[in-house]
Structures are given as C-alpha cells and as structure tokens.
C-alpha cells in the first residue's frame, strides 16, 4: 500500500493518498488545463508532460493563470 505524499501547491500543504500524475491532480482540482501553467520545483512543466509527470514527496507546485493587470 502507498504511503501518503506531502506536497505544496500554491504555498498550501496538500496530502495525496498515492502518487498521482499532474494531469489527474489538476483535473481533480477542477482546473481547465488549457488555461493554466504549472511549475514544479521552479521548473516549468510543459503541458505535453502533465500526463507523465508524477507528483512526489516534497514537490513544490505552482499553478498560475492570467488575471487583469496593467
């Protein structure tokens, strides 16, 4: 059985029950994958790699999008 995995997403701690692909994590969080960009441990994750990127212990994830600005 998998042990829980602690990660940080946008500065907030999260616990995953098992290793999870980034694409599954984003979808389960209710996000539209076409409208966000993701960084893992300060490295960009290309959209094409969401399915093959598996979240691991201690990962620092940033999920961003465009908002209004000047």
């Amino acid at each position: 059985m998998d042990s829980p995995i602690s990660i940080t997403v946008n500065g907030e701690p999260r616990v995953l029950d098992a290793p999870l692909a980034l694409s599954e994590f984003l979808t389960s969080a209710g996000l539209d994958l076409r409208k966000v960009a993701v960084e893992r441990n300060e490295e960009i994750v290309p959209r094409s790699a969401y399915g093959t990127t598996v979240l691991g212990p201690g990962d620092q994830i940033e999920v961003v999008h465009f908002i209004g600005g000047g």
Partner: protein
C-alpha cells in the same frame, strides 16, 4: 517601425497606418491594461470600446479553493487580443524570468512587458534591476517591451540591448497626472529606432492625444479607463483621443507665434 501613411487627400489611411512590434502589426495605437475593473464583464466591455488589439495581463496563482471562478480568458479572448503578460510585482531579474516563463507556457508567446518597480509611493522604474531583467529575458528568447524611466540614455541602452519597444512613463503608475515630461518623451521618441509607447500617467483623453502628438507609436494605459466614472465611455474617449493625436502628429502643427496673425484677409474691406 511605422506604417506609411500619407494618403493623397491628406487623410491618414486607417488601413495602411499601422505600427509594428516584433513582427506583429497593429492598427490600434491604444494598448490597454485589464486590471482594476469592477468585474470581468466591465473589463470586456471597456476593452471592446477602446478598440485595442493588445492588452496587458498579469500572471498569478490560481485560487484552488474556487477553481470554477470565471477567468479573464473567458471575457478577453486571447485569440482576439494579443496578450502582453507583465512582470508586475517582480523585484528581481530572477522573479521576472520565472513569471514570464510561466506566462509563455500558459499562452505560448514571447512578447512580454517588463516592469521592475521601485518602492511606493512612486513605483518609479528601478532601472538597474530593469537592465538586468531585460538582459536575462532577451537571453531566454523573450521579445521585451520595457517600462522605463523618462531617460533618453536609459531608453537607448534598452534598445541597444535588444528590447523591441521602450515604454517611458508620462507620470507615476495610476497617478492620472498626465505627461509631466513632454520634453523628455520627445527626446526619447526622436532618438529611438524601436517603437516608443508612453506607458503610465495618462488620466484623460486629451493627455493621450498629447502623447500621440509628440510622435510616440502608441500609448498604454489602464487606470484612466478603469477608474473613470463610466469606463466604457472613457474607453471610447481614449480611442478617439489617440486617433486625434495621431492625425495631428501626421498633419504637423502650425508654428507657435507670440503675436496675432489675422485669419481673415485685410484687403477688400468695405469703406
């Protein structure tokens, strides 16, 4: 950098009068920000009324507790407007590069607005940090439109580094004070080989017209529209102001003369 223009009837042809940055061509000389509106609906309506083809946007964390919240892209579609992601809130070259790499991944383009600001109350461009960030971004393949001080030497240096447009301020961001420095802006415009945009400080349509009369390629503004009592109407006013200023610049103003010169002939008077 400038599309030409002079039609035989003396009226600038709106089809051939364009400006170009990093190989992209724009007919609207008004670039608008998408911040500070009451709602995304209002943002969309004001931008539509402004006629802008390029809009600035910021990059921020998604609110994961409200993932279904409406997004800017649903109201200001990136397939209709050229998004110009900014580095607002970044204080170092490293932060700027990191932010814009994310923007590039989110949108897939390289054209960006670099702004590295000093502390309140003026948020004046931090030029040493701006030079450093510009260098890092250019090295990383970005096409950098850069917010900068109204300093002709700094603007020239940014151009020589490879920035695709320089964007000196008219007055501090969000101040609505108008052009505090027409002479400096003019000096920058006259020496530049890349497009010059007056960015920040414009408060109302006459000031946008004044910036265009100085000969800049376009103006960039946000608060002047978003903080007007009626943003949609002010967006229309800005559009008209920018067009009026552009026509006036192309037409060439009459010389200033410190004595009167009657418009009506003095001959043929009845006696």
């Amino acid at each position: 950098m400038d599309g030409l223009i002079a039609a035989e009837n003396g009226v600038a042809d709106p089809v051939s009068d364009f400006w170009e940055v990093a190989g992209r061509r724009f007919r609207s000389r008004l670039v608008v920000g998408t911040g500070r509106y009451k709602s995304l609906e209002e943002t969309a309506a004001a931008i539509e009324a402004s006629g802008a083809e390029m809009v600035t946007v910021a990059v921020r964390r998604v609110n994961l507790s409200d993932p279904g919240a409406p997004m800017l892209q649903d109201f200001v579609p990136p397939d209709r407007y050229t998004y110009l992601p900014n580095t607002a809130g970044c204080h170092t070259a490293r932060e700027a590069v990191r932010t814009l790499r994310l923007a590039r991944e989110a949108g897939g383009w390289n054209l960006v607005k670099l702004e590295v600001l000093g502390p309140p109350p003026f948020l004046y461009p931090d030029m040493p940090a701006t030079f450093e960030a510009a260098e890092a971004l250019i090295k990383d393949g970005f096409e950098v439109m850069v917010y900068c001080a109204d300093d002709p030497l700094a603007a020239k240096r940014l151009e020589e580094m490879g920035c695709v447009a320089v964007m000196p301020l008219g007055a501090p961001i969000g101040s609505g004070l108008g052009l505090s420095n027409p002479f400096m802006l003019r000096s920058i415009i006259e020496n530049a080989r890349v497009p010059v945009l007056v960015d920040a400080g414009i408060g109302t349509a006459s000031e946008a017209a004044q910036a265009m009369e100085l000969g800049c390629d376009a103006v960039l503004l946000n608060s002047a529209i978003a903080h007007a009592r009626d943003p949609v109407r002010m967006a229309r006013a800005m559009r008209a102001g920018v067009e009026a200023g552009r026509h006036a610049y192309l037409a060439g103003r009459m010389p200033r003369n410190y004595a009167a010169d009657a418009s009506s002939p003095m001959s043929g008077l009845i006696r």
